[in-house]
């Protein structure tokens, strides 16, 4: 089975190019760039639209097991296919947490049966994500865990975290941290500043993020562990990240698309769909982060997909659950960086697909021959108004409800098989 994509605007994050060309897919792999159509191959006319590696979304919460009413593997897969996400990297903050090989195997087995996209899982760094004992890092690694994290729970016990890092270093496992000083950020649901003061919300200084990051960097320097910060969202953290990289530490950092496209003023009159962990930052911070993504200092953009049902959100702001769904809105929201912030598509895709795949040791996220044919075809300019009830996720908690967006996924492929195509497209 061969597919020959032609008249495609190829977005290649590896070479940093954005050019019209053709792409040949054979046996589920990309085999040739800019060659002729071989006999018997299915020709797909891309109509001059963008063809890019499918998104590798690092840090997706799926409600399975434990909260299937918020999101199941099936609905997450549907949302991902429509959003151009071809690989979901699941967070272990399920119930029970993914902290044993058995749970990991259960999730992997169900995921394969129910979803058209690739699903890989991260495992909890400590048992039950409770921050008390190390989880079975070696066995989980053998069972297929791609990284180890306690999600948005900070391991407060520095000595334990040091041991986890030292142990993980021996196995070459990647640790994903949530940089945040737990004492300073306790109870906070907004970023301290004029707006939070006016609204009377408990707030945390952006300094808490840098302090958390500095601590983790100390431990990384001490143990030599491989480390990825799940979200760096404040300008004040950037010099520390730059220094760590310059010093040769094996460190990368990510950010959610929400922190790149929204700021704390969006909270407005206590809109709980804009409540995130960490909270939305000031406009100055947001712009510094966009710049850092463009410069490559921040490596990964993710959706931090966090489904919450209406009941969890229809509460006073302080009591409401944090997080937003993002699998389906990640690509159109990222197009705001292209249209409004002047970032080039290959640079955006470096953070959406290439970097997360490489960091996790996956072969995808590229357009080079030999890479799996995980692809997304999209029109970066197609405008639409987002209706949250049209989303595929079981939960519809998106901050982009009613927002004018540009960028529509026309089709996506996983391993050369088409898993979604937009109505009206050939």
């Amino acid at each position: 089975m061969s597919i020959w994509f032609h008249n495609a605007r190829l977005i290649d994050p590896e070479t940093g190019t954005d050019s019209i060309g053709t792409l040949l897919v054979q046996g589920g792999q990309i085999t040739e760039r800019d060659g002729p159509c071989p006999d018997g191959a299915e020709a797909v006319d891309c109509g001059g639209k963008c063809l890019a590696p499918g998104i590798v979304d690092l840090g997706v919460q799926v409600g399975e097991p434990g909260a299937q009413h918020k999101e199941s593997l099936r609905t997450a897969g549907l949302a991902a296919a429509r959003g151009g996400v071809t690989t979901i990297i699941m967070r272990p903050d399920t119930d029970p947490a993914i902290d044993t090989p058995e749970v990991l195997e259960y999730v992997t087995r169900r995921a394969t049966a129910r979803t058209p996209v690739n699903i890989r899982a991260m495992a909890a760094l400590t048992r039950g994500r409770a921050g008390r004992e190390m989880s079975e890092i070696g066995l989980l690694l053998d069972a297929g865990a791609v990284a180890f994290t306690d999600g948005d729970r900070v391991v407060g016990n520095t000595r334990l975290l040091a041991r986890c890092m030292a142990y993980a270093k021996g196995l070459g496992a990647l640790i994903i941290g949530h940089p945040q000083d737990p004492g300073l950020s306790a109870g906070a649901c907004a970023t301290s500043g004029k707006f939070a003061s006016l609204r009377g919300l408990p707030a945390v200084s952006p300094m808490a993020e840098r302090m958390g990051f500095d601590r983790d960097m100390g431990l990384v320097e001490m143990t030599g562990a491989r480390y990825h910060a799940d979200q760096i969202t404040c300008a004040r953290s950037l010099p520390a990240l730059e220094r760590a990289k310059a010093n040769g530490l094996d460190v990368t950092a990510g950010i959610s698309i929400h922190h790149l496209t929204l700021n704390d003023l969006d909270l407005g009159d206590y809109r709980t769909f804009f409540k995130f962990t960490p909270p939305l930052r000031s406009e100055d911070d947001r712009r510094a982060m966009v710049q850092a993504v463009g410069d490559g200092l921040i490596d990964v953009i993710c959706s931090m997909h966090t489904p919450q049902d209406e009941e969890s959100k229809r509460l006073p702001f302080e009591e409401a659950a944090a997080g937003a769904v993002g699998l389906q809105t990640l690509l159109p929201a990222a197009m705001r960086l292209y249209h409004s912030e002047g970032l080039a598509l290959p640079a955006i895709w470096r953070a959406l697909s290439l970097n997360p795949a490489q960091r996790l040791g996956l072969d995808c996220g590229r357009l080079a021959s030999g890479a799996p044919a995980d692809l997304v075809l999209f029109d970066p300019d197609a405008p639409f108004v987002l209706d949250r009830f049209a989303l595929q996720s079981k939960s519809r908690n998106t901050p982009f409800d009613g927002a004018r967006m540009e960028g529509r996924v026309l089709a996506s492929w996983v391993g050369g098989a088409r898993i979604y195509h937009h109505e009206g497209q050939g």
Partner: protein, 322 residues
Amino acid sequence: MTFTQNHLLGIEPLHPTEITTILDLADDYVALNRSVEKHGLALDGMTQINMFFENSTRTQASFELAGKRLGADVMNMAMAHSSLKKGETLIDTALTLNAMHPDLLVVRHGSSGAVNLLAEKVNAAVLNAGDGKHEHPTQALLDALTIRRKRGRLHRLTIAICGDIAHSRVARSNLILLGKMENRIRLVGPPTLMPAQVGEFGVEVHDDMRAGLEDADVVMMLRLQRERMDGGFVPSEREYFQRYGLDAEKLAYAKEDAIVMHPGPMNRGVEIDGAIADDINRSVIQEQVEMGVAVRMACMDLLARNLRKSRERARLRGAANG
């Protein structure tokens, strides 16, 4: 006479002329309250429900009396002990009450923004009686009325708000209102009790009482919650009183005829010296309580007028369509 609001959720949405409208009407109600026959008919036939998710004696009594004097049927619900403890959500409680067709809902809640959320879900006019650390609009209005009556005006005054600004909804509403009326506002308190970037609100921030009170026309003291005195925010009660408690020595820095205010309940010997609180030449704390009833009558009267108007419009629209 201008008042276009359907709810009173905070001072922030109010236009200065609306504030003046409320205060002018409240002046009339002060006169009514001082007469023997205290009954008005502004809320005749209406139902007022006081929902207090946080315990309150004074504010609830003030709202209850205001409603009764204007002829409303008033019901008090002490929500602190009720179905929310059984797991019912705020929205469900609101919808349940809404089905009983109240006209005025007076709400106090411990979370900032909770009253805004509730107002979206009910048909009644909602009055915020304090939400978390956000706003307490009727307190700011009664303070404004007290100042206007005592000082003869409500603009170009130097007003020092002292104490626990960070946790105070009274302070927020007051600094918004007094700012809208073009006064010079000083916030005085220890840095641990000052909200972040509060200087950007167009106020002066002081951590020294003497500098903060210098030539002030009005000194407004705030209550310091007991649980914040034991080393978490300030080292101790006595250190706080020594540095930030209002006594004769510190008050001497203010203008000679400066008035002293406190939203109550007071901690004598913590934020205010008992002798100052009782000094009838300086302290207007009892007047504040009196103004509270009148201001709440005025707010409910104005909201009821708008409620009647909008219902009448809806009825006419229905008749035209039918």
